[in-house]
């Protein structure tokens, strides 16, 4: 039972750290961006700090927190709104921010999850196969994934984006949400780079485990190779892979901005980019909260799953 308690304590500590980070992110965004947009609308810094500029942008019936007195009171009202997931009305969309985000997020979420699944289904088996098989296969897979990996992922993404223009006849663009084929290109573009990264980590971890003494001992005892791999090697090698999967998921869920822009997919990424261009303060606050929760949440998920499998991986703090 001590192990379970320690795990729970660990999860709670990480959760608190995450909430603290989220708070700092949201607070910095609120003040920095609030002052920025007020400056952009022509007020002086002194007026802004005194709270003499009540509303941001062209908003008429803006959110409640913008109408209430001093910056501090606005901030408290905003924090309370964030806790209730209520950021008021989006200026550019003319609807509550929560509703707009909920409408647009499924597309982005699907792209992130599908490309994550693609990366895992590609990376893990290839990595294991390369490590176990060795020889020419290992060489080919290692070099391909090393190439994909050392090609910095944004460059790979741009290259794939650019080349994918040639396949537009086959895979329609701007169709994600309407047609399953519309998801193919964006998910491929996002998933391939991540797949190379996962393949590399898996291969290193499995190969490291294969050379341990216990594998040789088990072999000498006459246990079948596949049994050793399945029972011991894979289970032991999975920890580092799982630990890398969390941040990868976060990266993919939150990394669809360029893909959404290039393929004219109207998910939350596109929504927020447009929101910036139109100085839609409530929308950006809601979006920053959503994305920060996504990134922190998937990191935490990865850490917890990895530490369930391999308690040595528990990070301090």
């Amino acid at each position: 039972m001590a192990g379970g308690g320690a795990l729970l304590g660990y999860i709670i500590r990480r959760l608190l750290w995450g909430v603290l980070t989220l708070w700092l992110t949201v607070t910095l965004t609120f003040f920095a961006l609030g002052i920025t947009f007020r400056l952009a609308s022509g007020s002086s810094l002194l007026e802004v700090l005194r709270g003499q500029v009540p509303s941001v942008g062209p908003s008429q019936g803006g959110p409640a927190y913008e109408l209430q007195g001093s910056p501090l009171r606005q901030y408290v009202a905003f924090l309370w709104g964030t806790v209730r997931l209520d950021w008021g009305d989006s200026v550019s969309q003319g609807a509550p921010v929560r509703q707009v985000l909920l409408e647009r997020f499924p597309v982005t979420g699907k792209i992130g999850l599908i490309s994550f699944a693609l990366a895992v289904m590609l990376g893990v088996p290839l990595g294991i196969y390369a490590a176990v098989r060795g020889g020419v296969v290992d060489f080919a897979i290692s070099w391909t994934s090393a190439f994909v990996y050392s090609f910095p992922s944004p460059v790979l993404m741009t290259l794939l984006l650019a080349l994918s223009v040639y396949t537009v006849g086959i895979f329609p663009v701007g169709m994600a949400g309407a047609d399953w084929r519309g998801y193919l290109l964006p998910c491929l573009v996002l998933g391939l780079g991540a797949g190379g990264y996962i393949a590399r980590i898996t291969r290193a971890s499995v190969a490291d485990e294969l050379h341990r003494d216990y594998v040789r001992t088990a072999r000498a005892k006459g246990l079948h190779k596949l049994l050793i791999y399945r029972r011991h090697v894979l289970r032991n090698a999975l920890g580092p892979v799982l630990a890398a999967l969390g941040p990868t998921l976060g990266l993919l869920l939150a990394g669809s901005f360029p893909v959404e822009y290039a393929y004219e997919i109207y998910g939350t990424g596109r929504l927020l980019l447009d929101g910036f261009a139109q100085q839609d303060f409530p929308l950006i606050l809601g979006g920053v909260t959503l994305y920060t929760v996504l990134v922190l949440g998937s990191n935490l998920l990865g850490e917890v799953v990895a530490s369930l499998i391999d308690p040595r991986l528990r990070a301090g703090g």
Binding site: A32, P154, T158, G255, P258, Y261, E264, L273, A277
Partner: protein
């Protein structure tokens, strides 16, 4: 002063790691260093001489259109893709003739009738300037904060780690958009109040550097902790070498190279994010569009003519790979283990 020179002599003798190193020309014969250097120098020369090389000026009108080229065709093909003679019999409304090659624009024109050659030359100029400046900023800030956190453990360390966590918890595209909107407005306003004017490039670079320092600082912190536990630092400390000198001579040399590699790995990310911000219209913009901006602005319109996306992509990839190669080479040159 005798005491300090004895100390220095002792340090030189007993410490293997960080006595003043001599540079030889043969040290520079590192292939990845040389390749990266040559490519970057070439592109840098193109960028520096852009006003001489480019056939047309960068846009001077506020909407970013080359007013010289208003009569130019949209998407004129580059010279190697010049279409054959058109059979007028075949032309109809459904089957329009291809845009003919225009000798005034050897690399063709983009969707806004601008000369591709000029755009590429100026795009290289501004992308390189923004990227190099941002990488240097990331390097400097990351190393400074990382050394601070690793050397002074405790509260300061936690603060730096927390800030790094925060900077990385927002997706980089979103964070850069935030900082771009912020930095352009704040810096611009501040300088305007002081009666100064600042070029757009440092502003853009600064806003893009606000996110990337976190991974550098993290790495540097770990390395500083590892290094400061090593025997030679212990020995130097026992000799009474002051803290500042200890950091500068015995810790920093081990940290600079790897930090540069991590910082320059962000080069492509910076260029892409800059392009996306430019295409969406967030923050200040340099006087001409950058390579990343060229790529993203063509996407909505260029399904039929992918070559106009591929050209800036090729230059951007060359820059990114050259920067990576150069940084790896510099790391090997800087590494104290090499001597």
């Amino acid at each position: 002063m005798a005491g300090s020179s004895t100390l220095e002599a002792l340090e030189q003798q007993s410490l293997p790691s960080t006595s003043r190193r001599r540079w030889y020309l043969q040290d520079l014969r590192d292939p990845s260093f040389l390749i990266g250097l040559v490519i970057l120098l070439t592109l840098g020369a193109v960028g520096a001489l852009a006003p001489r090389i480019a056939p047309y000026d960068p846009p001077r009108t506020s909407d970013g259109v080359y007013f010289l080229n208003l009569l130019a065709p949209v998407h004129a093909p580059p010279f190697w893709a010049a279409p054959d003679e058109v059979d007028l019999q075949q032309v109809s409304i459904d089957n329009p003739p291809p845009t003919p090659y225009d000798p005034r624009f050897p690399l063709g024109t983009d969707s806004e009738r601008r000369d591709m050659l000029s755009l590429l030359v100026y795009g290289t100029r501004y992308s390189l300037a923004i990227g190099l400046l941002a990488v240097l900023l990331i390097w400097a800030v990351g190393v400074a904060l990382g050394v601070l956190a690793g050397w002074r453990r405790g509260k300061l360390e936690n603060l730096v780690l927390w800030l790094a966590d925060t900077a990385e918890s927002i997706p980089s595209f979103l964070a850069c958009a935030l900082f771009a909107a912020m930095v352009s407005e704040w810096v611009g306003r501040l300088l305007a109040d002081l009666g100064l004017y600042m070029e757009a490039i440092p502003v853009v670079a600064l806003s893009l550097a606000c996110v990337g320092w976190a991974s550098v600082a993290r790495l540097v912190r770990v390395q500083v902790i590892a290094t400061s536990g090593s025997e030679w630092v212990e020995a130097a400390r026992a000799l009474g070498v002051p803290s500042r000198r200890l950091i500068l001579r015995h810790v920093l040399p081990f940290v600079l190279g790897p930090a540069l590699v991590v910082a320059s790995a962000q080069f492509p990310t910076i260029l892409i994010i800059d392009g996306l911000l430019g295409a969406v219209g967030i923050g200040r913009r340099p006087p001409s569009i950058t390579l990343g901006h060229m790529i993203f602005q063509e996407f909505p319109s260029t399904v039929a003519a992918p070559i106009f996306i591929l050209m800036p992509t090729a230059v951007l990839i060359a820059i990114s790979l050259a920067a990576t190669a150069l940084a790896n080479g510099v790391q090997r040159l800087l590494s104290p283990e090499r001597r």
